[in-house]
Every structure is written in C-alpha cells, then in structure tokens.
C-alpha cells in the first residue's frame, strides 16, 4: 500500500510541491523557535539562589579624600542607623557588581594546569543573611576573617561542579585566583545577572580586596519589611546624603531591576511565540482549505473505491497517509539541514537543545498535518458511491 501511495504522490509532485515547501519552511521556523525557547527555559530553571523580593538597591558616593579606615567606619555607622529604622530588616554593602545590574567582572587563572574562569562579586559579611543565600558547605566570611592568614572567598556550586567535580569538599583549598585566597564556603546555585543568564562559576570576595585599589564598597542592598519599600525611600535617601555629604544617592527596586534584566530575553521570546503561534494557525487553516479542494476534486475516485468494497476507514487512511508522505518527505529534508547546525558546531549552544527543537518541531507539524487532513478525508469518505458515481 505504501509503495502504491508513494507512486501516487510522486506522480502528483508538481501539485504537491507547494505543500512540501510550506511544510519544509514551517519546520525550519519551528526548529529555530523551539531551540531558542528550550535553551532559555533550561537556563531559567537554574535558580537565582537569592531572594530579591522586598529588597532595594542603593548607590552612594564616598568622598574621594576619605581614607579607607574612615570609609569603613562610616559604612558601619550607616548600617547601624539603617538597621535602627523599623522598615529595614537587614543591610549589606557590596562593590561595583550588583545583581541585575548588567555589569560583569571576570577573571581567569591557570591553577594546577586547569584554566579556571570565574565571575567575581565583591560583597561584605552580611550578604548571606540579607540576600538569603543558602550555603551547601563551609561558612560565610565574618569580621574576624580580615585578620586571617589567607583572605577568604566563597564560591558557588557551579564553581565546584565544573572544576572539582570529584572532590568531596573544596573547603580550605588555597588558590591564586584574583590574589591568594582560601575557599571557606560553597553556596548553592547562584547567578546574579538575570533569570536567563548562564549558571556560571562565581566567586565572592570581601571588601579588603577592593580597598587596596581605593575602591570601597559604594553600593548597598537593603532587605525591607514586607510592603515598606516605597515608604522608607526618602528617609533612607536623606540619611545617606547626610552621611556622605553628597547627593549622588540612587535608590532602586531590585524586583523591577530583575524584570528589566530579563526583558532582553522575554521580549524576543514572547514575540517569537506569538508570531509562530499565528503562523501555525495560518498554516493549519491554509492546509485545511487546500486539502478540502484537492479531495473534493477526487470524488469520483472515492466513489469507485467504495463501490469496489473499500470501507470509509480505508479511504480516510489513504488520504491521511498521502498527506503524511508529503509532510514526511519535507521533514526529512528539513531534518537533514537542521542536524547540520549541531553537527558542524555552528553555534555555542549545546547540541541537545537542537535535537529537542527538531523533535518538537516534527511532532507539532505531524499533529497539525494529521488533524487538518482527517477532517476533509472523513467527510469525503462518508460519500455514498451511488451519488458520486451518478454525478460523473
């Protein structure tokens, strides 16, 4: 039966050319869209590792002529006064790189023959409680670590998984990474750029690493009592202007920053989903229409087959299979092109997402084609041979 159908379709190749082309292009579009979506959803699934709700970010500017001891003292006073406010639950100082802020600081080092590349964040000893970060091993640094023999650093889970996957623990490891440091803690998954950013090795350094470059922490994150974000802003602003003698104080809402940071992926994704959704409806309706005319032109043939004893089911199967053969041929060609992308390593995206994209696109197209061909076929198969043959 299959061979017979193949011959049938091959003989009508000119009439089917357009359907073939349409399905091929639809496959290419869907393949791209699914790959893009699955790749980004996978990234979205890896957790941020901190709680941005009810937090605000603050940027302030210490006078350049203040020496580092004065800055440290001022930071302590600021924190004390902020914590005294009923609206503020916790506060932490951090360096130039802030969550959702868009900047990156990265360093590479060759350590024991292994090239270690890590993003860097500079945060103080209160960061863990304020941002509600989970530790899976070791501890966060404290005030006392300033006087320790080695400067402390904390790394995220990805750092350990990527570079020391077999070690039971990397606590107390000393390495020359942005200066000589001792790993004292490992956080659970932590990424700070956006929900869609890559889960990348990350290292937290204390303020002392920045102080020697005369670059004290000039950013803060405050955890507010629920619902108090907006109300306390002006008070905080005035307090900080007072302490720094400088009106360069900027306050922002971390939750809004997250939405902004996600926007560069969310907007293209929504656009792609909406457009391809409409394209699919469009294709389905079009296919439906075309098949309807094509099949109704073959009424005589159907009548003849039924008169010779074919059941309605058999007639339906024939038409559906005919269309599926055309679709299958188009998909085969499409897959041939699509697999070149992962095989030739044309993009840095891992291969598995392309295979997911291919499978999802094939399934979608087969479902649409089947649905669109069943309805006209069944209607045609329901014809009574006497009527149809009579017309002829």
């Amino acid at each position: 039966m299959f061979r017979h159908l193949f011959t049938l379709m091959w003989n009508k190749r000119r009439a089917n050319g357009m359907i073939f082309l349409e399905i091929l292009l639809a496959f290419v579009v869907l393949f791209g869209v699914y790959t893009f979506i699955s790749y980004n959803l996978e990234r979205y699934r890896s957790p941020l590792g901190f709680n941005y709700e009810d937090t605000i970010g603050v940027r302030l500017d210490f006078q350049d002529d203040m020496d580092s001891l004065v800055v440290l003292e001022t930071q302590k006073l600021i924190r004390r006064d902020l914590l005294a406010m009923p609206e503020v639950e916790d506060a932490t100082f951090l360096g130039d790189v802030n969550p959702f802020g868009g900047s990156t600081w990265q360093t590479n080092s060759l350590i024991n023959g292994q090239n270690i590349s890590t993003q860097m964040m500079f945060v103080d000893e209160h960061f863990m409680e304020t941002m509600e970060v989970d530790l899976i091993d070791g501890r966060w640094y404290t005030e006392e670590d300033k006087n320790a023999k080695y400067r402390p650093m904390v790394v995220n889970k990805e750092f350990k998984d990527r570079y020391y996957p077999n070690a039971a623990s990397i606590i107390d490891t000393i390495m020359e990474l942005g200066g000589e440091h001792q790993i004292i803690g490992v956080t659970s998954d932590f990424k700070y750029k956006s929900n869609f950013s890559e889960n990348y090795p990350l290292t937290f350094y204390p303020q002392i690493d920045r102080l020697e470059d005369d670059d004290p922490f000039e950013m803060m994150i405050l955890r507010m009592a629920p619902g108090q974000k907006a109300a306390a802003e002006e008070k905080i602003y005035n307090l900080l202007v007072n302490y720094t003698k400088n009106t360069d104080v900027v306050i922002w809402d971390m939750a809004k920053d997250r939405v902004k940071a996600n926007r560069s992926i969310v907007i293209p994704m929504v656009i792609l989903i909406v457009i391809s959704g409409f394209l699919l409806i469009n294709i389905a309706l079009g296919l439906f229409g075309v098949l309807f005319t094509q099949i109704s032109r073959r009424r005589a043939e159907i009548g003849l087959r039924k008169a010779m004893g074919a059941s309605s089911g058999l007639v339906t199967t024939q038409f559906v299979l005919e269309v599926l053969i055309v679709a299958g041929a188009a998909l085969l060609l499409g897959v041939f092109f699509a697999v070149q992308v992962p095989l030739l390593d044309l993009t840095p995206i891992p291969d598995k997402f392309f295979y997911w994209g291919i499978v999802a696109a094939i399934v979608t197209i087969l479902v649409i084609v089947t649905v669109c061909s069943i309805v006209p076929s069944r209607q045609a198969a329901g014809l009574h041979p006497a009527n149809v043959l009579h017309e002829e």
Binding site: E22, E234, I267, N282, G286, V290
Partner: protein
C-alpha cells in the same frame, strides 16, 4: 472595466467565506507583523531626529587598556600509544600574553587633548551618559538620567526642540548652570510641557539649574542620547574634568563629511591608539579605542561583541533570515489557496477565452482580484498594527524605545502590500491563463 473586475472580485470573495477568511487572516496578520517590525526598525535604526546624520557618524564609546607580559607557557601533550601506554611531551615556550584588560568610558581631558581636531572629522561631541540624579519633590520621587555634553552635541544631534533653545559655547565655557530637558522629564518635574517651563529652576542634587530648552524624547534608546536632562560638560564632577587618567565617564562621536569619510576617521583613531605611549607609572601598557559606525555600534552593544564586522553579521543575518521565513510562509500558504480558488473557475475562464479574451486579460483579471483581497487584508492589518503600536507606546513595553508611525513606515507598508498581492497572485493566475479552452469547457 476596472469597476467590473472590482465588483466581480468582491462577489467571488463573498461566495466562499471560508477561503476568504483564511486568506484575510493570513494576509492581515502577516502585514501587521511586517508593519510593526518596520516601525520598530525605523524607531531604533532609522535616521529620525536626532539622528539625521546617522550615516556620517563614527562612535567611540570606550577605551580598552591592556597589559601584556611575557610569560612561560607550560604545555603537556598527552599521546595514547598502542597498547594503552601513555606518552607525555612537555614543552616550555615564552609568549606574550595579555594578562589584564579593562575597558570602559574615556576621560574628558584625554578626549579634549587628542580628539578635538581629527583630520577627517567635520565636528565632534563628547558626552557623559553614566549618571542618574535622584531627588524628591514634595515627597514624590523622581529619577533622571543625566548627560553632560559639549555644546557641539547639539550640532551633531539635531534634537527636535519643542520650546526654548540649546546651550551654547559661552554657556559651556563659563559653566553656566543651564539644562535642556526632554518633554518626559518636563512632565515629570514640572507637570507640564509649555513655554512657561523655560527659565524655571530645577534643583538637581546640590545645584540649581535653569531650564534652557525642552526637546522631544527620541524614539530610540541609543546610549548616545538616552538622557532625560542634558547639562554643560563643565558642570560635571570637577574630579572628572581634571582627571589625568585615560579612562573616565565619557564617550565621543565624530561627524564625517560623507558616509565614505567615516573610514578615514576610524583609521585615524586606530592609528592614534596604536602609537599612544602610556605613562610609565601606569599598570597597563597599551590602549585600544573602540570605534564603529552607527549600525555596527548598535550590534556590538546588543551582543556584547567586540568585532564590529562579526557583531553586524551575527545580529542582522539571523534577523533577515527570520523575517524572510515569516513572510515566505504566509505567502506560500496564500499561493496554495489561490491555486484552489482559481481551479474552481476553469469554466468561467473557458467561456471568456471562447469569446475572445486572450491570456493577458485573464492574467490581469486574476492579479487584480488578488490585489483587491490583499488590499482588504492590508487595511485590517494596518488597523491592527496601529492598535498594537499605540498600545506598546502607551505602556512603554519596550522601555525607552517607542515605535514610530511616520509617513515612511506607511510608504514601505504600501509597497509591501502591493508586492504581497502581486507575488501570491501571479503563479496561480499564470497557470490559469494558459488553460486550454477545449478542456475547461468540456
């Protein structure tokens, strides 16, 4: 004749409502997408004000400092021999290795000293785009994105002034505290956009500025003019003005005589950077000045890619391919539908031909009918697109960027509608026009 065709076309469309609906759905949706995309591209990349001289600009937003050290590179080659034995080849080489790079905006005095008279540039402007000013007005918070700019900034970017004027060379020289604000900032701070705002005072930080002019907010969110308020460069932080470093907070933009003149400016900048001698006490030992044309700069900024050519390729080629695919699919769909529709009218064509119509008449009739269909779809699509554009602009869905609905967009749109109708009609019409009279009248 045309009227006849027109009436006939409408009759035909009415006869098969399902096909008409499917065709119209495809056409109007596709055209809506195309129009919104055109409008988006026009807003971001078009040469609208203040970017009238878009194709003559060279942008230099950043400087990169590098330190190169000669380092011992240890290389261990592992070779698995037959029989499972491993062999190791160890080698040491001395190679120049860039051990540290750091990039960011440029210092104002450095720009002032080296980039005010490039041979190829007709004009230049420097701008500082990295500051926000927060403040409170009767308990209400406002956040303004502030730019410190040279007076030439207003010559290169032809902002649309709604009220008042720009500030001039004399204002910059004597560091007058004057400010040019966007209509959005005026509404936020003063609650109105009117002539009355000119001359009023704004308290920004510890200083008080007098409003000199109000400009229309640009459609695009290019980092060159994403500000809410613009102040003379001399009123910026004194530390910035007396900096002896190469890095600071400023970017530069140069105007070439003609689009071809841009290459000369870029070559000049590159050759300057190559020959620049860093001060002996500096940790870094070489610099590179990022420079690009407007389009390249846009692609680089969006992708975070260094090489202008690569950035342009990786951004624009996928977009173009995607758009082509998105247009091709509905087009093929329409051709398919038209094929079916035309098939059903074989006998009509047979009769017309028997009465003396030639193939060209038939061809024209079908193309015309198809154009009527696309035109209807175009009107629906345009209505949808306008609705979508105004929604996007009202809600600020895209952040600062707003979609444009300028006459150019409509013109492109009209062209697209005609093309669409023509392309989707020509193949079926051609096939049909060659119908054999005898066969179709059988």
């Amino acid at each position: 004749m045309i009227k006849n065709y027109f009436l006939l076309a409408l009759k035909v469309l009415k006869r098969k409502p399902f096909y008409t609906f499917v065709s119209l759905f495809g056409i109007s949706f596709t055209l809506m997408i195309l129009m919104v995309l055109t409008s988006l591209f026009d807003a971001i990349l078009g040469n609208n004000k203040p970017l009238t001289d878009r194709d003559q600009l060279v942008i230099m937003p950043m400087i990169e400092r590098t330190r190169t050290e000669t380092d011992t590179i240890l290389r261990i080659d592992t070779i698995a021999m037959q029989g499972g034995e491993m062999r190791y080849d160890t080698s040491y080489t001395y190679e120049d290795d860039i051990v540290s790079t750091s990039n960011g905006p440029i210092a104002y005095p450095f720009l002032e000293k080296h980039f005010t008279n490039l041979d190829g540039a007709v004009n230049y402007a420097f701008y500082n785009d990295n500051t926000h000013i927060d403040g409170y007005l009767e308990g209400r918070k406002f956040t303004l994105n502030s730019y410190y700019v040279t007076h030439t900034y207003w010559e290169i970017f032809d902002f649309n002034f709604r009220h008042g004027t720009e500030f001039y060379e004399a204002d910059v020289e004597s560091a007058n505290q004057v400010v040019v604000i966007t209509d959005k900032a005026a509404r936020e701070y003063f609650g109105e956009v009117s002539e009355g705002v000119i001359g009023q005072e704004m308290v920004l930080g510890e200083k008080t500025f007098t409003v000199r002019g109000i400009v229309e907010r640009p459609l695009s969110d290019s980092p060159m003019f994403a500000g809410d308020i613009y102040m003379p460069v001399t009123t910026t932080d004194p530390r910035e003005l007396s900096s002896t470093e190469v890095y600071g907070g400023f970017g530069a933009v140069f105007l070439a005589k003609s689009p071809e003149g841009r290459q000369a400016i870029m070559d000049e900048i590159n050759s300057f950077a190559e020959n620049y001698q860093m001060p002996a006490d500096s940790y870094h030992d070489a610099i590179e000045m990022f420079n690009s044309t407007f389009f390249e700069g846009y692609a680089m900024g969006l992708l975070g890619e260094r090489d202008p050519k690569v950035a342009t390729r990786t951004l624009f080629i996928p977009i173009i391919v995607l758009i082509l695919l998105f247009v091709a699919l509905p087009l093929i769909n329409l051709v398919n539908l038209n094929n079916g529709r035309v098939q059903e009218r074989r006998s009509e064509i047979g009769v017309r031909k028997a009465f003396g119509a030639n193939s060209r008449d038939i061809l024209l009739q079908f193309i015309f009918e198809n154009l009527v269909l696309t035109a209807i779809g175009g009107v629906i699509g345009m209505a949808l697109a306008l609705g979508l554009i105004s929604y996007v602009n009202q809600q600020d869905v895209l952040g600062i960027t707003r979609l444009s609905s300028s006459p150019e967009v409509f013109l492109y749109f009209l062209l697209v509608v005609l093309m669409f109708g023509f392309l989707s009609g020509i193949l079926p019409a051609y096939r049909m026009s060659r119908t054999n009279v005898a066969n179709s009248l059988r």
